[in-house]
Amino acid sequence: MSTMDSDYTSVISVRGLKKMYGDNAALRGVDLAIRRGEIFALLGPNGAGKTTFVEILEGFRRRDAGDVSVLGIDPDRQSMALKTRIGIVLQSTGVDRYLSVAETVSMYSSYYPHPRPVDEILGLVGLVAKRNERVLRLSGGQQRRLDVAIALAGDPDLLFLDEPTTGFDPSARREVWEVIKNLKTLGKTVLLTTHFMDEAQYLADRLAIIADGVIVAEGDPETLAGRDKMRASVRFTLPTGIVPPEQLGARTTTANAYEMKTLHVTTDVFELTAWARSVPVDLEDLRIDRPTLEDVYLELTSGVVSAPSEE
């Protein structure tokens, strides 16, 4: 970390960012701040503006309006200065298939003023054993780790990962996740785009959901959009003819199945089970669900943006 930028904590700060493609607004006023050392996930459906947003920050595209600062640099004005300090893993990436892993990383290292030693990078991404293997012989997960290695070549302060695991099988995804988790220990800031909830949940310190060119929610994965404060639902099934007491507030969903929404799970479940024992009756299929990140995401990106359902 250079002393020049140690006096601010926002590595990326964006205000009122707009981008048009012809008559279509890809970004309609995005505000976002990303702090040093965090893994930040930008979630959103295809076409929401994720890639456009990231490519503006990387200096690949120019913005139409708004303020953008990446590591204290305006990507539209000083893209060369920016490029020496960021690492980019693009959605679809190719490298020359006939070079070896080590040759590839050394080649990219030679473009930077202060590269990180090649063997150190290969250690970070777990490709030491594949050092002298030609790129064309690597598996999908290994190629992706090589992409991360190339992005680390210049020892950047900030990494952009655009949908790093799209199209991967579960074990390859795990491989790549572990590498990304490791980046945090190096003190790197990571901006990750994804449309996988589990990826965001596993990797991100904070996340934002983008839909139709605007940020619709921002927070940490546990409390995003008031997820932790939303009412849990308690579901159970009763034998025919038995009805739960009215004060529990359970309503029928189908036939003999009931659901009660509650903010006070412990108390309400205690009351329910106490009643069941006194009858006595079996609460078949008793289960308690909290809204998942996916529920929140689907609700926010379906165009129905509703507040947490508290009274």
């Binding site: 990387e58 200096g59 690949f60 060369m80 490029k83 020496t84 960021i86 980019i88 693009l90 679809s92 990436t93 190719g94 490298v95 020359d96 298939r97 006939y98 070079l99 040759e103 080649m107 990219y108 030679s110 473009y111 930077y112 003023p113 030609r134 190339i150 210049g154």
Partner: protein
């Protein structure tokens, strides 16, 4: 890291990848040499009149023609197809996201293609000398020949960059490249010598394009025909035009 070091490194890596890739090593390098052997073996012992009072061995003619073909293939075909593949697979876009200056990246490819061309021409000339006693340019002819060679190689590289503008994707690259260059190779006397009864309209068409002029410039070096600077000028003009098109329309990202 200064620019010269980056350039030198970059050429080294391009060179490594070039020889390890069977497609580029074969089509760019072995192909022209194979044609040279086939043409000279089949037709090498007859004579051909390149002007009413200038008769040469056809083997010498083909040494010059295949040298020209080797340069066109190493520069135009190799760069156009290579770039189209790299553009589609995202190599170009990735490079765009790193601090390597565009001029250095482009020059490294260009210089590597010129380097391959020079080797090919040297092998072609040596082969011609060894097996067919073809004459090798010397003295001031050699100098003019080298000027034509380098100007031609650079111009065909620039044309290789420019043609990527109309190549929609990597799959279409070989088709577009061959469709644009093969007819010119045929009408410019590369594969078949242009005899005195070749239709004049065909010659006129050939004269519009750079392959004809480049071929004559190269032949002048080997056949003792008069060297016409006009050939160099036409080839250079095409190269400059291609450069302008490349600067204006070259795309670093896949064309969708």
């Amino acid at each position: 890291m200064n620019s010269a070091t980056i350039l030198q490194n970059q050429i080294r890596y391009i060179n490594k990848a070039f020889w390890r890739n069977p497609a580029s090593a074969f089509f760019t390098f072995a192909f022209p040499l194979m044609f040279l052997v086939i043409f000279t073996s089949l037709l090498g012992h007859s004579k051909i009149a390149i002007s009413p009072n200038h008769v040469v061995d056809i083997s010498t003619y083909y040494v010059a023609a295949m040298a020209a073909y080797a340069v066109v293939s190493a520069c135009y075909n190799n760069i156009a197809i290579g770039l189209a593949i790299q553009r589609d697979s995202g190599v170009l876009k990735r490079t765009r996201g790193t601090p390597i200056p565009t001029a250095i990246y482009i020059s490294s490819r260009l210089l590597h293609a010129v380097f391959v061309s020079v080797i090919l021409v040297a092998i072609t000339a040596a082969y011609g000398r060894l097996f067919y006693h073809a004459s090798i340019p010397t003295g001031s002819t050699l100098l003019k020949f080298l000027v034509m060679l380098v100007v031609g190689a650079l111009a065909f590289c620039a044309l290789g960059f420019a043609i990527t503008v109309v190549i929609p994707n990597a799959d279409a690259a070989p088709a577009v490249v061959n469709a644009s260059i093969l007819p010119l190779l045929f009408v410019s006397g590369i594969f078949i010598p242009l005899s005195s009864n070749a239709p004049s309209w065909l010659i006129w068409i050939a004269k519009i394009f750079p392959v004809y002029h480049f071929a004559w410039g190269m032949k002048a070096g080997f056949l003792g025909a008069p060297f016409d600077w006009m050939h160099v000028v036409v080839v250079a003009a095409w190269g400059l035009g291609a450069l302008v098109v490349s600067f204006r329309f070259f795309s670093w990202e896949p064309r969708r």
